[in-house]
Symmetry: C2
Subunit: 153 residues, 2 copies
DNA sequence: CGACATTCAATTGCGAACAATTAAATGTGA
DNA sequence: TCACATTTAATTGTTCGCAATTGAATGTCG
């Protein structure tokens, strides 16, 4: 038996869910990045790891994980692929043998120059002004941090 | 040789990237949803499919894909898992044998009632007002649609 | 010093996500 | 009607993402 749409249904409607907006926007970003990153031989998560390393080299896996909100189950195989591509080197820390330090190779450093044009291309694709994007980014980060705060209960 | 941070580096900084904000917020949402959806026996993408079906039943795979921005490579195995869980039935359309129609089972319908409390729990986790969330959602959807428009070139 | 807990990366298994290909059904035009 | 293109799902292979477990190194407390 057919039901009339009622106000009680609104919370379950797809279009009303901010989480779906975020989920689908993340996929849209990924699709825009794809052709740009293909030229660098990187996937998007690999690109994120490279961003971390371009800011600070010789970083333990743990720290990369904290910055990207990813765990070793994701990072270990990803980093092995970056190593196979000769972009990073993985070495056990001598001070703490539990840690694996990730360092850029010369090719890894060099890739940074090829990556410089990427943010500009993405900016163009958003068809937004920089201040608009910064404002949105700050709002989304604040939301993310509130969500992450709830997890640790 | 160490480099001074310069303005030219800003575009490649992780914290400046809206895409990473969106990417990490999507994962944060997923982690908040996880315990709620575990009780329903659903993953987050499966929950999205159920949202579509609760709005309109007996839908071809294609249409689900268009609403969620997913293709058959993702949906076919996901829908088979939902079928194995007795939540949906997959049947070839008699009018067009190429299409597979997805229909809810009685259990699939019934699950809707158990799902009603989910949006409220998510809302609480965001620690945001409804108008704030609606405004953000609209902005993110607009951004997503502009990104998707660029893809089709 | 020695039992114990903690930390860290690696591993395993499962479920997305997507590109590329395949195969069947349908539509179209000569 | 028949060749051909288009549409639709399914399949295959690669890469994430995460829970759960393992094993080695380190830290802590009696």
């Amino acid at each position: 038996m057919a039901r009339k749409p009622s106000a009680a249904d609104a919370p379950l409607r797809l279009d009303n869910q901010i989480c779906f907006a975020v989920y689908s926007a993340a996929h849209a970003f990924n699709r825009v990045y794809k052709p740009l990153l293909d030229r660098l031989g990187l996937t998007y998560p690999q690109y994120l790891v490279m961003l971390v390393l371009w800011e600070r080299d010789d970083v333990p896996v743990k720290e990369i994980g904290e910055k990207l909100f990813l765990d070793s189950g994701t990072l270990t195989p990803l980093l092995k692929r970056l190593e196979a591509a000769h972009l990073v080197k993985r070495t056990r820390s001598s001070e703490d043998e539990r840690q694996v330090l990730i360092a850029l190779t010369p090719q890894g450093h060099a890739l940074r120059e090829k990556a410089r044009s990427v943010p500009q291309s993405i900016l163009a694709a958003t068809d937004c002004s920089v201040p608009e994007l910064v404002a949105m980014k700050d709002e989304i980060v604040a939301l993310r941090d509130r969500l992450n705060a709830v997890i640790g209960d």
